[in-house]
Assembly symmetry: C2
Homo-oligomer: 391 residues x 2
Amino acid sequence: MNQYKIPEGFRFAAMDAGIASGERLDLALAVADTPSPAALVTTTNKVIASCVALNRSHMRSNDGLVRAILVNAGCANACTGEQGDADALRCAEILAGLLDCPVEQILVFSTGVIGKPLPMDRFEAGIPKLHAALSRIPENVEAWAKAILTTDLVTKIQERQIGTGTLLGIAKGSGMIHPNMATMLGFLFGDAELPLELGVLLQAALARSFHLISVDGDTSTNDSLLLWSSAKQNLGDSGDEAAWIEALHDCSRELAKSIVRDGEGAKKLLRVEARGAATGHQAQVAARTIASSLLVRTAVAGEDANWGRILAAAGRSGAEIDTRKAKVGIGEAVLFSDDQPHAAAEAAATEHLRGDEVLLWCDLGCGQESAEYWTCDLTEGYIRINADYRT
Amino acid sequence: MNQYKIPEGFRFAAMDAGIASGERLDLALAVADTPSPAALVTTTNKVIASCVALNRSHMRSNDGLVRAILVNAGCANACTGEQGDADALRCAEILAGLLDCPVEQILVFSTGVIGKPLPMDRFEAGIPKLHAALSRIPENVEAWAKAILTTDLVTKIQERQIGTGTLLGIAKGSGMIHPNMATMLGFLFGDAELPLELGVLLQAALARSFHLISVDGDTSTNDSLLLWSSAKQNLGDSGDEAAWIEALHDCSRELAKSIVRDGEGAKKLLRVEARGAATGHQAQVAARTIASSLLVRTAVAGEDANWGRILAAAGRSGAEIDTRKAKVGIGEAVLFSDDQPHAAAEAAATEHLRGDEVLLWCDLGCGQESAEYWTCDLTEGYIRINADYRT
């Protein structure tokens, strides 16, 4: 992972500022050399963290230009009242002072426990040190990706080259994962000058990636996804626009999948496909319902080819389904079709379930539309992690 | 539990017919002395078991009069094609022959694994034996309640006296539990002659009981709830109509709660209250979303007063919420109000969480409406049970 390029115009730093418990990196700073175009999508939860409120306000008044972002793990700064709002603003002010830029060009992101105030002394002491440590070495990017994690087991970094240009994606998330919106923190750093609005590009990428994943159906108070480009490279140098958009989608998709793969307690990545739907929307609804079913996900954890649960989930999804024409399969094995179970196919399905990546599919027998969705198996590990999260 | 009365006009029998694996009761028969008024509600899942299809058809053509019901555990007879339909009908036909009644007056219920055909030889041999064993002794009712269980740990029986009349409720369910519809099998036997339509009475009771519970968000292909009255007692003898309806609601409510209390892997019964909502519907949506949150339910399993998850769940429910006025509590402890966490209240909340019955509440700060919902904590036991269900 040490071979990747870093998009032009950005510098990174991370440190253990003593915010999260234990010895671990927990504060990360990324700075653009000049104020650079950015688009931000935030949680649809009506209860939002102070940082989300601040960032929304800043994005309304900074003409879409961002100079720096600060991310901390260990404390979500959500449900912390006016003190939380003041603390988030204070973090931005410290940085704006160091960078000599308008405070509106600073965004702050927090992730961790709800209802705990930010330990502001740690921020006051840490931010200047972070600022002094900014650099473009890959080690700093890797440390940055570590510093934003909570219950994640692995860092999530994706990098793509488009001509001479570079796109770098970093994300965190392994619980409280459900679409609308991205249900995690995600940062996409690019250096291409783009003809389309970043917000449009970001929404299109979201629809094909972070909106298609679920770990537990919960969306957090802090979810945010940022697309940020230094615009140092024009597309003549960095390949054409289509290639760049393709890279953005691919990068988002792989980050989204890596979040699911790292789902709390997860041992397997599940791809769920709904096929043969009457409409695209119905395909999505069916795929999401199957992927969100605890019974389906626990069966996969138990490597049990319990196709009846897949069909039952499709049946309660609200999508039209013709049970006489429906089919259900795991991997290449067709377990139900022509209104009949196929017990002989279960051995192949069980073999497929033993792998790390599992495909579950259901053909609704009503049309030509299809959709996919990603989730992970639901194991006892998920329960352990979330029962003991704060202790 | 041996002291209860049995509603007039019904007889019961149960046996080990060799349908479910292991030595256990798995086939149950209840017969009314004469064709008796009944109302049936069945699953909203679009994939339905053959027995559900048969019962719906019978209830359309039997003038609401039912003579007997047959219930088996171990095999859901769902997704079993035309053979499944033929098997369900054959069970009804055997019984109709023994009772010398129209086949439409027979209802059949199945619960268990999806996609497995009914072992018809066991039904052919068992049904006549069951018919011969019918009686009104409490032991038979208790055996009946046992014979309909699957992953349930305990039987679910409720009995109420209204004047000289009796209402007896028996249910099964501990997984695949979510409202719309009752997400389990439930049978309410009464002996009062009622002025209102049974269907109206049943829907009203449902709205206040089985529609307010969730174990895992899954609704099965076989869920059914039956209200059945021999009409032997007129209300002059058995108390007034209001008392009877109150008993029906109470009985349904206690059965619903007993299902949740017996939720797969559950150690605690959770009552979730949404208060201060702008509308009754929003109160319901918020209560249901909190009760369905895996993060809330795992926190309760860990006896962690993680009120932030309650507020975050309310925030994503879609209900209007004023975070500045919202309050969150566990038991009597107020953990968040006036836009501030109250760390000092956490000890009392944690103490409350150690109990078997837990109250979680959220005041949305937007109005006067409230709603409650019941669920259970989500433990590693749920995962174990459902990962290994078929093995």
